[in-house]
Symmetry: C2
Subunit: 455 residues, 2 copies
């Protein structure tokens, strides 16, 4: 199967079939597709068409499709079905982690109603368990579906147990080994099991080197561990080491991507995750707050400049270089902060190299400041400024601004991190703003001193 | 095993043992660790200590450790060993994809020497094959290690073949099914194989729904497909459908993360991947080019302002609002571009919704522009400006600047994308620069018109 490409023709053909109530052809068109593809199609349909399509899918697939639909969109469908249908058609058949996410996103009352209509009581119990965990923790990410065997069993017992346990699982990646108290002891690969005589005890063949996380480990850190050790699944244990669930790499890939996107979004001055497909109102809500903060910052800058109004009237050329000073401060600050934020995210800082990084940043800033100041000195000589006072002012100010912005851009995210605030906040409009205001003051103050003195 | 935490104490203890030439204790300390942890330790050691440690590891592990070391660091070790040691100790024992990456990063001459010293001729052949592919394509990502079975075999033959083929594999995730011509027909899960009577023919139990990619598919697109379909491994076929390799999720997680980081880096105005651990020179090389471009842009802005010098001397208050105008243009532009770049990256644009996005962007811009302009009008009244001319100028200019920056910020990355240039370029200092210059012109021109007319 080559990947399915969603086309407008496909959607409009499907819509026509739905409107003609041609169940057979709709099913024939959609059934062979992967749940992720069906989810894409459903996102293009209106609520009634989507409902129609959902009810044609077999129960197993309907649950998988629902799990693949984006969260905002999903709400729309969920609200269009009665609690009983949600329970029996979807929640009963989804993986426990997806089911818990779905139920967790509902208002309390709806949650209770859906849970009370469920037929699979084991699944309902699992969901209630999973809902206790913070959604950004290992407990919130994990699913209850896993294959575990007792260390005292033989390979034969295991094979028999596997066929029973594996019924609900799409794929088996690892088999976990526990003792009689359900304490995680190690892992066993299917490969090992196939290649070992069936009378062997698990105790003698399992691998005790198993990397696990506890339920309260942060999602970010689970991602880091799975990436570092190249794991496809990781077992989750409670505080006394009992095996309670497992997290698969596909859920973690989403966390890793979202993590990277969050930093990107912060840097762009967007306060929540929006996409071009979101409504105008959602987009405005995410963007306006930063613009207003920027606006107040800009007015503060205007207020500072107003103190120098008389000087500007006297030396209007001062105004010419305001943009270059603010822009350079902003650019240098963002570069420095971005490097620190990335370093913090990949956990590559420790006490020893924080000091090293700052020293390095200062060296780097000095080189950049020297080169940029020399260039601006030469360029500003081409302006018809009648004296050396202005070029000297601009050169000295730019040097100080670059040095300041580098050091501030490095120190600020480190400080935020120390205060347990997301350091990525330092890369957004906030740092540009601070650099603008401080840079302007450095420039105008230097200008006043030098121009007053030289002219 | 809980995750290993690298500490300074651990490293200094290890260094002491190495200096005392205490092989036994060093081995005892390091052997139980995961290759990824040993790689972290080695990155902290100097070249000679690292060499010492490498030669103590067993061959299998030494190869795994080398594969985990960061590319820049790796070069340092590679250069410290003679080609014969590299070939026999490392390349012979690595996974073919990692081995090909390693050999591919060497100069041509060293490549030939290393290949000629290899003992595992099959591996050497695989490496030569893999080196043909572009490193950013599926062919460049894939490894040759995979488990494949012929559709005409029985489950029993398969199980026997598996024990042979699986010898070189850490884990088996999927078994691929091919016909007599090695054409990929489908996949088979280990689970299915365990649960089926051994005399059954593979033909009757395999799953023909297998998502694959061709060798020339881009790494980015492989990442997208594996994420979308939640795959742990994906088979790679050549242009006529023959199975030639497989890509595992851990390699793709790196691609996904690097992709997200690249956009982040572009936005921060850093032209290549640098980290706080890189040398001052590497950091300067990555950062200075954008600063110089910004500097020239700023000087262009200065040149534009110089045309209005006489006006500024007359109305020095004009200078006050320069920073707010440039900052707001920059902020709005980055927001718009970031949303488009993200949309393009997730492939969520098509002809129909490009038009929709632009319409939405204009609506959103109009709301933001109205609110921000109203705020600036009120705030600027508090300044002692003696007339309404300045507030009106600033208000009208800000409105136009926000509208322009939104539209330009949306259209520019779309245009770059159309021209097959990375649209992420539009989010960096470049867009801020353009918005600064155009915003300033809008502001000063409006100011001249209104102030000349009103006063």
């Amino acid at each position: 199967m080559q990947q399915f490409e969603l086309s407008e023709e496909f959607v409009s053909h499907l819509e026509k079939l739905i409107q003609a109530n041609n169940k057979e052809d709709v099913a024939k068109l959609v059934e062979p597709l992967h749940p992720a593809d069906i989810a894409e199609i459903i996102e293009e349909l209106d609520t009634e068409e989507a409902q129609y399509l959902f009810l044609l899918l077999d129960e197993e697939k309907a649950g998988d499709v629902l799990a693949e639909i984006e969260e905002d969109e999903r709400q729309r469908f969920i609200d269009s079905f009665p609690p009983e249908v949600i329970a029996k058609r979807f929640v009963d058949n989804m993986d426990s982690d997806d089911a818990a996410d779905l139920v967790g996103s509902m208002p309390n009352e709806q949650q209770q109603e859906v849970l009370s209509h469920m037929e699979d009581l084991e699944q309902a119990g699992d969901i209630v368990d999973l809902l206790h965990y913070d959604e950004d923790s290992a407990g919130g990410l994990m699913g209850k579906e896993l294959v575990k065997v007792n260390e005292n069993w033989t390979v034969l017992t295991c094979l028999r147990e596997l066929s029973r346990q594996a019924e609900n699982l799409d794929e088996i990646f690892y088999i976990y080994v526990v003792d009689d108290d359900n304490i995680l002891k190690g892992r066993l690969s299917l490969k090992k099991m196939i290649l070992t005589p069936t009378s062997t005890k698990i105790k003698n063949i399992y691998n005790p080197d198993v990397t696990y996380v506890t339920t309260d480990e942060s999602a970010e850190s689970v991602g880091r561990i799975m990436q570092k050790y190249d794991l496809v699944a990781i077992p989750v244990v409670d505080s006394i080491g009992r095996l309670v669930g497992r997290i698969t790499i596909d859920d973690v890939v989403d966390v890793i991507r979202e993590e990277a996107e969050k930093d990107y979004q912060m840097m762009s001055g967007i306060s929540q995750d929006v996409e071009s497909s979101d409504t105008v109102w959602d987009q405005t809500k995410a963007r306006l707050p930063w613009l207003i903060i920027g606006l107040f910052g800009g007015m503060l800058a205007a207020y500072m400049i107003s103190f120098y109004e008389a000087d500007i009237a006297l030396f209007p050329a001062t105004a010419m270089f305001i943009p270059v000073i603010t822009a350079m401060g902003g650019n240098v600050g963002i570069q420095s902060s971005a490097i620190v934020v990335k370093g913090l995210a990949s956990n590559s800082f420790n006490t020893k190299n924080i000091f090293q990084s700052i020293t390095k940043e200062i060296s780097c800033a000095t080189i950049n400041a020297c080169i940029c100041s020399s260039i601006i000195f030469i360029l500003s000589l081409f302006f018809n400024l009648n004296s050396y006072a202005m070029p000297i002012t601009v050169t000295i100010s730019l040097f100080i601004v670059i040095m300041f912005a580098s050091i501030f851009g490095t120190a600020f995210p480190l400080l935020l991190n120390k205060m347990k605030i997301d350091p990525a906040l330092a890369t957004g409009p906030f740092i540009t703003l601070t650099n603008d205001i401080i840079g302007l003051n450095i420039y105008l103050f230097t200008g006043k001193a030098i121009l007053g003195w030289l002219m």
